[in-house]
Amino acid sequence: MIELKDIQKSFDGAKVLKGVSSVFHPGQISLIIGKSGSGKSVLLKCMVGLLCPDNGSVLFNGEDFIAMNTKEKKNIHRSLGMLFQGNALFDSQTVEENVRFPLDMFTRLPLDEKRDRVNEVLKRVNLVNSNHKLPSEISGGMQKRVGIARAIVMTPKYLFCDEPNSGLDPQTSIVIDELIKDITEEYKMTTIVNTHDMNTVIANGDKILFLHQGQKHWEGNKDSLFETNNKELMDFIFASDFLREARAYRLGKTKK
C-alpha cells in the first residue's frame, strides 16, 4: 500500500503540485490521469524518490519514504519496478542483459539461474527469441515488454508505469494494458500508472485520480467516471464525439 499525504512541488516558483493526497492498494491498478503537463510524471517521480517533494510524505506500507536514510531508501528501491515513458533500456546491452541487470547487480545467483529467471519473465511478457537483440533492433511494443520484464524481474511489490501506451498503436496498447493488469493481479503488486489513454482508463481504471492544475480534482473508478458531473474531468475524458456518445449510451442504459 502506498499513501500520499499533501505532496507539493514547485519548480522555480511555479507550483506544479499543490498538495496531492491519496491511497493506492495492492492487487489493483491505480491510474493517474490529466492533461499533458498537469504534473503526472512529477507526482510519480516524487513517489519513487527521483524528485524530492517540497512538502508532504510518501508512505510505503506505513513507512515514510522521504524520512528514510539512504540505505532504507535503497531497500524500498529494490522492492519497486518502474516502466519509463521512453522505456529507458540500456542501449549498449542486449534484451537479455537488460532484463538480467537487476539480478546481476543485486543477487549472487549463478548465471544459469539468472538466465532461467530472465527467460521466465520474458516468456511472461510474451517476448521470446529476442534475447540477443539490442533495444534498437526491436519494435516499440517489444521494447515496452522488455521494460516490463526488467521492472518485474525482481518480483517487486510496487510497479510504476509512466505513460505505458505512448507511441504504441491502439492494438499493441491494449495488449500492454492487459499485460500490466494481469501481472498486477498475479504478483499482488500495488501498480500506479500515468496515462492519458482513454482505452486504458476504461479497461484498467480500478481507481482513477484526476490531476488538474496541480490538485487532485477528482477520484473514483471507471464506473463512477461515467456518472460524474465534474466539468474539467468531463472536458478531459469526453473530449471526442465518440466518447460523448458512448457516455450518453451508457447513462441511458443504466437508467432503464
Binding site: K45, V48, G49, L50, K73, K74, N75, H77, R78, L80, G81, M82, F84, Q85, G86, N87, A88, L89, F90, D91, S92, F101, P102, D104, M105, F106
Partner: protein, 245 residues
C-alpha cells in the same frame, strides 16, 4: 556565482564516487568496457599524431641547427625532451579531450535524457559511482599508457624523419636521445598524464550526467565538455610546469 554553483555540484559528483559498489564484478565489467573504449579505440589516432609531431619537430630542429655549429645529435635530445615533457602528455590529452570527452558527455547526456540514469537510481544503483567510477579508473590507467607509447612513437618518428631529411645520421640521433636522460622528466610526464586524464573524464562526465533538455542540449554539453577540458588541460599543464620545473 554561476561558476561557484557548478564547482560545488562538480565536487558533489566526485563525492558521490565514494560509495561501496553494489556488486564488484559489475563495476569491473564496466571498467573493462571503458578501458577498451578509452584506450584501445584511441590508440590509432594518438599514435599517428605522435608520430608526425616527432617527425616534424625533428626535421624543423635539424633545419634550424644546420645553420649553426651545434652538434646534430642535439636533434635527438630536443625531440626526446619535448616529446616527454610536453608533446606526449599534452597533445594526447587534447586529442582525447576531443575524442573521449565528447563521447562520454554525449553517452551520459543521452542516458540522462532517455531516463536510463533514472532507471539505475530506481533499481537502487548508485548511478554516479557506476557510471563515472569505471570511466575514471579506465582513463587513469589507459591514458598514461597511451602517453608513454606516444612519447616512444614520437621519438621514433623523429628518428625516421631526421635521417631521411639528410641533416643527420641515425647514430647521431640515437646518441642525442641517449644523452642526459632525466628520470624526473618521465615522472613529470606521468603526473601530467594522470592529471589530464582526471580533468578530461571528470569534466565530460559532469557535463553529460547533468545534461538537461533535448538532443540540441546534448550536442552543446558535449561541445562544452571538449572546450572546457582543453582549457583546463592547458591551465593544468602550466601549473604543473610552474610547480615542478
Amino acid at each position: 556565482m554561476d561558476s561557484l554553483y557548478h564547482i560545488g555540484k562538480y565536487m558533489m559528483m566526485l563525492k558521490g564516487l565514494f560509495v561501496r559498489p553494489e556488486r564488484k564484478t559489475m563495476y569491473w565489467k564496466e571498467t573493462l568496457r571503458q578501458m577498451y573504449q578509452i584506450g584501445i579505440d584511441s590508440m590509432i589516432i594518438v599514435f599517428i599524431i605522435a608520430f608526425f609531431i616527432g617527425a616534424v619537430s625533428a626535421v624543423q630542429f635539424a633545419y634550424n641547427l644546420a645553420q649553426t655549429i651545434t652538434p646534430m645529435s642535439y636533434v635527438g635530445y630536443i625531440v626526446k625532451e619535448s616529446m616527454i615533457l610536453e608533446f606526449a602528455p599534452t597533445i594526447t590529452a587534447l586529442i582525447l579531450a576531443g575524442k573521449v570527452g565528447s563521447n562520454i558527455a554525449s553517452e551520459l547526456g543521452t542516458m540522462r535524457l532517455t531516463e536510463q540514469i533514472d532507471a539505475l537510481e530506481i533499481m537502487g544503483v548508485n548511478s554516479i559511482a557506476y557510471l563515472v567510477g569505471p570511466k575514471l579508473v579506465a582513463a587513469l590507467t589507459m591514458i598514461p599508457l597511451l602517453v608513454v607509447f606516444a612519447a616512444v612513437i614520437g621519438i621514433g618518428g623523429g628518428y625516421l624523419a631526421g635521417i631521411s631529411s639528410g641533416y643527420l645520421s641515425g647514430i647521431e640521433y640515437i646518441q642525442g636521445v641517449q644523452s642526459l636522460f632525466l628520470a624526473k622528466n618521465v615522472v613529470i610526464m606521468m603526473i601530467k598524464a594522470i592529471v589530464f586524464s582526471f580533468i578530461i573524464v571528470s569534466i565530460s562526465c559532469y557535463k553529460g550526467y547533468y545534461a538537461r533538455g533535448g538532443a540540441l542540449e546534448i550536442g552543446k554539453a558535449s561541445t562544452q565538455a571538449v572546450v572546457l577540458s582543453c582549457i583546463l588541460v592547458l591551465i593544468a599543464d602550466y601549473i604543473v610546469a610552474w610547480l615542478v620545473l
